[in-house]
């Protein structure tokens, strides 16, 4: 649906069918941490799998907050400049539910964004830009 004129937008309460955005349900996991089990946590794991944070996805994710989810969460928090807590804190959940590009942040296990930058890479670029 295209809206060529902003004044033509219908004043609906949220999305056009009144439902929540796909990831809004994740906000119910606020405060969830390693060792816990919550209904629907498997969907969050699918989210992290979709964007490259969990590799080698099983046929079915469990609802357990396991080590794999904590690891994915830490990398995500690093990539998005969040406090790296390994927990589903409010700040992290607010970022997760935002609309986003469907391309993965980590492609074929090759880390990118903040989490993929090694110390040597930083050093090289730092010297280069300083000299320049």
């Amino acid at each position: 649906r295209f809206f060529p004129n902003i004044t033509g937008l219908p004043p609906l309460p949220f999305s056009k069918n009144g439902t929540l955005a796909p990831w809004d349900a994740f906000t119910k996991f606020a405060g969830c941490r390693s060792g816990e089990k919550r209904d629907g946590l498997a969907k969050l794991k699918q989210y992290f799998n979709e964007f490259g944070y969990i590799q080698n996805a099983p046929s079915n994710f469990s609802d357990d907050f396991d080590d794999e989810l904590e690891k994915a969460l830490r990398v995500y928090q690093q990539n998005f400049n969040l406090n790296v807590t390994g927990e589903l804190d409010d700040q992290t959940l607010q970022k997760i539910v935002l609309p986003r590009c469907g391309n993965a942040d980590i492609v074929n296990g090759t880390t990118s964004m903040n989490s993929g930058k090694s110390a040597s890479f930083h050093t090289t670029k730092h010297f280069h830009t300083t000299e320049h």
């Binding site: 295209f2 809206f3 060529p4 004129n5 998005f80 609309p99 986003r100 590009c101 930083h122």
Partner: protein
């Protein structure tokens, strides 16, 4: 800035690229994409020309809903907005279920799910040209964008990334609308690339 694995780019003999649309779009919508391409051509030697031949176009743009055959189904309103493939694939897909705003100030939209088309187009073109996602929140290549938000100007991180791949446009004067490299490095101690 980041690149796709293997750092794919459009080769030197394919830098004058054409783009076509899978859908019958209005001139106003097409103009949004033209402006988005201009952001990248302004800072690189790349050129982008519209063509009526979707099949023959280097860059193929289409709006799709749900499962549209590339293994990356769209999910309805908000969530995933669009995706694009690395060079030289050329496919740029947008979620047809979104409430795309093509003109006016999206920030004042009465519809909370309104998404600015040009903002998403500029980001996805970055992928088409070889850029991955950036952790720099000022960068166009940052992965998330809130609804009712407009963000169309390349950041210095985007410019450095794309010029690493293709070099600079001879007419580029080195300025971007966001924080300059010098300012950013001063503010964070020069640690980040």
């Amino acid at each position: 800035f980041t690149f796709f694995p293997g750092t794919p780019r459009w080769p030197d003999h394919r830098q004058d690229l054409t783009y076509g649309f899978a859908d019958q779009l209005t001139d106003e919508v097409k103009a949004v994409f033209a402006r988005a391409f201009e952001k990248w051509s302004a800072v690189t030697p790349l050129t982008f020309t519209p063509t009526d031949s979707y099949i023959l176009a280097d860059i193929k743009i289409g709006f799709f809903t749900g499962d549209h055959g590339d293994g990356e189904p769209f999910d309805g309103v908000l969530g995933t907005l669009a995706h694009a493939f690395s060079p030289t694939n050329g496919r740029l897909h947008l979620d047809g279920a979104e409430d795309w705003v093509v003109a006016g100030d999206v920030r004042t939209s009465p519809l909370p799910s309104a998404v600015d088309l040009e903002s998403v187009a500029v980001h996805e073109i970055g992928h088409l040209l070889g850029l991955g996602h950036s952790s720099d929140e000022n960068a166009i290549m940052y992965p998330t964008i809130s609804s009712r938000t407009r963000k169309v100007e390349l950041g210095s991180d985007d410019v450095e990334g794309i010029q690493y791949l293709y070099g600079s446009n001879p007419n580029y004067n080195g300025s971007t609308s966001t924080t300059s490299t010098h300012e950013r490095e001063t503010s964070d101690g020069g640690v980040r690339d």
